[in-house]
Symmetry: C2
Subunit: 256 residues, 2 copies
């Protein structure tokens, strides 16, 4: 069987240790092309560049058998450019990450890592976002390599359901402490914002966005629960945002 063609991207930038680990895993699975942002893009959500131009440069990597492009845009831009301009054909899989930090629960909405995967999904390319629950630049990604390979091989073999992309979060513990993989739903959790208000040297106020993550969801089928128990969580994510269950109720409203 021909080797699968795999697009690797992320949101922490092409030089981040997380994407370097992901590339090293994917080299063993298929032919790899990297198209990733030239600077960190965390928190970019599904932003795209429509009022400005994009550029990309082919760079030479230490693993020089792999083609790598750095791109000026957002993670979603990178995927669009990769699939439509830079790759010789539509990839068989897109993997994004490994993100430095969690993208579990509501974080999927703000995540550049997941927006890259979702953009690939929209374009009909099976896609997985991987995140490690350690936001530090020097986080230890090596313990997660075997699991990432196993999940990727499963996705290639079984096929990811249509209209779905996978959001994989990995506890930041030794490999031997990881209990396994659980397919989960997104926990109903959110951030309680605490803006840090300061004054600049001219006396004008400004803010830093900070916050506390609060999980109100007691379910044992959620990603938060699984991660707390040292399982890897996989949430199937969809980009049809329709709340189908709400349609009937709204149909009773009176617009006359």
């Amino acid at each position: 069987m021909a080797k699968p063609l795999i697009l690797v991207t992320n949101d922490d930038g092409i030089n981040a240790p997380g994407i370097r680990t992901l590339i090293s895993v994917m080299k063993d699975v298929g032919d790899v092309i990297v198209v990733a942002p030239n600077s960190p893009q965390s928190g970019m959500g599904h932003a795209i560049t429509i009022n400005s131009t994009l550029h990309s440069s082919r760079i030479t990597s230490k693993d020089s058998e792999i083609i790598e492009y750095s791109c000026s845009g957002t993670p979603a831009d990178c995927v669009k450019l990769a699939i439509n301009e830079l790759m010789p054909r539509k990839p068989d899989l897109c993997v994004s990450g490994i993100n430095h930090g969690s993208n579990s629960s509501i974080n999927v909405i703000y995540s550049g890592t997941m927006s890259a995967a979702i953009e690939a999904g929209i374009e009909g390319v099976p896609a997985i976002g991987f995140s490690l629950l350690d936001y530090r630049w020097n986080a230890n990604f090596s313990e997660s390599k075997d699991f990432i390979k196993k999940i990727t091989e499963n996705a290639l073999k079984n096929g990811i359901p249509k209209g779905v992309v996978l959001n994989v979060n990995i506890p930041s513990v030794e490999k031997s402490k990881i209990k396994g993989v659980k397919v989960c739903r997104q926990a109903n959790a959110s951030w309680v914002e605490e803006f840090d208000k300061r004054k600049n040297p001219l006396g004008q106020e400004y803010y830093w966005l900070t916050g506390k993550f609060v999980n109100k969801d007691k379910g044992e089928d959620t990603d938060e629960w699984a991660l707390n128990q040292n399982y890897i969580s996989i949430v199937p994510v969809e980009f049809d945002l329709t709340a189908h269950h709400a349609i009937q109720e709204l149909n009773e409203w009176n617009f006359q």
Copy 2:
């Protein structure tokens, strides 16, 4: 009954004609506070500002009985700052728009207008995003005013279902030609990218992202169908992205 407190925001910037129309409608419905970006933020998706500071200025508007703040951040930032810092209490409703251009179908994913509404929803504030199918700065928003008022009054009276925000798109035609309001699902449509590749004066390549909107969805229950028939579409949108229907299939994968 006390007047509802309404947060008005958008992604085209606080001076856009669309938000001016929305403010003029909401003045008749409740007490209005405006917190909107100081510059256009189209295509920002659910981006938030985490590696930089935010600032906001109270500005004096022509309708000076209304409090207005312009904010340096993204639409999602504006909503976070409004709810947690700038407003005297949690608003009863957040409305976003009127967007200059469609946010139907897959556009909901890229939309700053909808990300503002979704952010409010995440924070427990009922929310609606309004968009007119005319991207021009001087689009005619006045024909949509009565419909926007009616939909808003319905939302306040009946309550928007929990975990759901409304994505309202309005055809750009005379009021008399609008056939009514339809509650819809998001059409399964997407953009086929066509990058416009150019060379700068130094001979380096760059791209403009362009594309063609392609609707493959023949369903007559979709927003695209309704809009093409000159109905206003309302899609209930949820921010639990879990593809619940896919969980069972993924549980058959073998991670050992």
